[in-house]
């Protein structure tokens, strides 16, 4: 599903953020991407949803080579990838419903179908009573779940999350992780970047470790 071949990525006049990274994440896998701050985790995720292009190497998503993909096709790739951003990226002047609905509006869904689907996913996330609230009125955990709902509402093939548990208490972390697991059971390939050791240890999933832009370790299921 996700393949990186000898990928390097440098920002202007800086040390490379990624250096000769090669990895494969098969369809339906659930993988943690870990490493210290500045190791290149976010850069790697951005390469997968084509926000960045690699300086060298190839990135393949579901067999499509992103480095050869025309810019006009990028939106169609992104529709199959749900992303939970580190800073959530919720629009403060739109309601929870509208924030989640954006993903389906982009796909051209009708108003009634959007309403049904969004309400359904917000109910799954335990946010059915927050439908008309704006993000600023929500707690950190609730905001995270809204971001997750937006990423999952169109049943993406791939779910990417950048530090999704960063500012959450244990209860909220558990809740978020169980949502990831449910999505994975439904067939979504999940890639979570985190440096939260406890989350990784409790999840018993494959772990990819980055250090100074290099792949330092790939651990199988942790028990």
């Amino acid at each position: 599903m996700i393949q990186l071949h000898n990928v390097s990525m440098s920002y202007q006049a800086e040390a490379p953020a990624l250096n000769d990274v090669t990895l494969k994440i098969p369809k339906g896998d659930f993988v943690f991407l870990t490493g210290p701050s500045g190791a290149g985790k976010s850069t790697l995720l951005k390469l997968i949803y084509a926000e960045l292009s690699p300086s060298r190497g190839q990135v393949l998503i579901d067999g499509t080579n992103l480095t050869r993909m025309p810019r006009s096709q990028v939106p169609f790739l992104r529709r199959s990838i749900g992303v939970v951003f580190q800073d959530y990226k919720l629009l403060p002047n739109r309601t929870v419903l509208e924030n989640v609905a954006i993903t389906l509006e982009v796909l051209g869904w009708g108003k009634r179908d959007i309403g049904k689907k969004v309400f359904h996913i917000l109910k799954q996330m335990g946010l059915e009573d927050k439908v008309n609230a704006t993000p600023l009125r929500l707690s950190g955990g609730e905001q995270q779940r809204v971001a997750l709902a937006r990423a999952l509402v169109n049943d993406p093939k791939i779910l990417i999350a950048d530090e999704p548990t960063g500012n959450l208490d244990d209860e909220n972390k558990e809740q978020i992780l169980s949502i990831f697991k449910e999505a994975n059971i439904r067939g979504t390939t999940v890639l979570v970047a985190t440096h939260d050791r406890r989350v990784i240890e409790n999840s018993h999933r494959r772990v990819i470790r980055l250090e100074k832009g290099r792949l330092s370790e790939v651990c199988d299921v942790q028990s």
Partner: protein, 322 residues
């Protein structure tokens, strides 16, 4: 190295995607317009700033246009003084006068022809010398020549047209001399040319300033919403999908701004007219002060719409990353 085996349920049935709601141009336009209106509602401050700037900028430009159009109208009114007088050696017979009047009226540029007989000319002279009639004692009407007083239409009052008209007039039989204020016509035409040039120059500077201010304001307001633009791109919106509501929003803001500026202009016009007699000593009706014609009003409205559209289009270029 065996990988994690949380095998997905391959036969899990995905929800069937419903029919798209935005098929066809009308469906898409409906969605984008609704989104644009919702954006205006959800960003009241930013929208108010944009509409306010467009209104003010267009009000200044349209005030200039109103003053210019009226000044030009007043100045052109002065050209009514451009009159050509054709003198006769001998007063023509009434029948010949009718024929001559017809011939003169047939010349291109003739607006009005009045025959002044010798008796009428003497009467006018006496009228002008009121109180000093003794000067005219012993003078008979035959001393003064009969003439045709000709007014020209507005299009034929410039130096070249007047000269061509006089040349054509001289060819008519019975006319011995033609007089017109040649010097005055030349000076008046130079003044009008200078006036129009200044108007165009000032108008162009004003238009550039308005364009600059409005496009920068729109740029700032779009910058304030750059997160929204970024997010739309990240969830898979195409460039067109991101741009369309913003462009419609720009058009709506431009049109609203233009309408507000026209309402303010109308208010300024009436306030000015009401007091014009007091502080300018001008009777607005006599001076012919008028509001802008419908074509100018339509141009201002169109200008507002274009300002909104172009301002949004150029600003969006910078912030859309898809």
């Amino acid at each position: 190295m065996s990988r994690a085996k949380q095998q997905p349920a391959a036969n899990v049935k995905r929800q069937v995607r419903p029919k798209l709601a935005q098929e066809g141009y009308s469906g898409r336009l409906g969605y984008f317009t609704a989104r644009a209106v919702a954006n205006l509602r959800q960003n009241p401050f930013v929208s108010a700033v944009t509409v306010g700037t467009i209104s003010l900028a267009l009000l200044i430009a349209s005030l200039f246009l109103l003053v210019y159009v009226n000044l030009e109208g007043m100045a052109e009114g002065w050209s009514d003084k451009v009159q050509v007088t054709a003198y006769f050696d001998k007063e023509p017979a009434p029948l010949a006068v009718t024929v001559l009047k017809g011939n003169i009226a047939a010349l291109p540029g003739t607006a009005k022809v009045v025959f002044v007989s010798q008796v009428e000319a003497e009467k006018r002279l006496r009228g002008r010398l009121k109180g000093q009639e003794s000067l005219l004692e012993g003078i008979s009407p035959e001393v003064l020549p009969a003439s045709m007083e000709i007014s020209l239409d507005r299009k034929h009052r410039d130096s070249a047209s007047v000269a061509a008209y006089v040349a054509a007039l001289k060819l008519l039989q019975g006319i011995s001399e033609v007089q017109y204020g040649e010097e005055w016509v030349k000076r008046f035409n130079s003044f009008m040319n200078m006036f129009r040039l200044m108007g165009m120059l000032l108008g162009s500077f004003l238009a550039i300033t308005v364009l600059f201010i409005v496009s920068n304001t729109i740029k700032l307001t779009i910058y304030a919403r750059k997160e929204e633009l970024e997010l739309l791109g990240l969830v898979g919106a195409t460039r067109f999908f991101i741009k369309a509501p913003f462009l419609i929003e720009g058009v709506l803001q431009g049109a609203l701004g233009a309408l507000i500026s026209l309402a303010a202009l109308l208010a300024c016009y009436f306030a000015f007219l009401k007091n014009a007699a007091n502080f300018l000593g001008v009777n607005p009706v006599a001076a012919g002060l008028s509001f802008l014609p419908a074509s100018h009003l339509a141009a201002i409205l169109l200008g507002g719409v274009l300002l909104g559209f172009i301002g949004s289009a150029t600003s969006l270029k910078r912030f859309i990353n898809v």
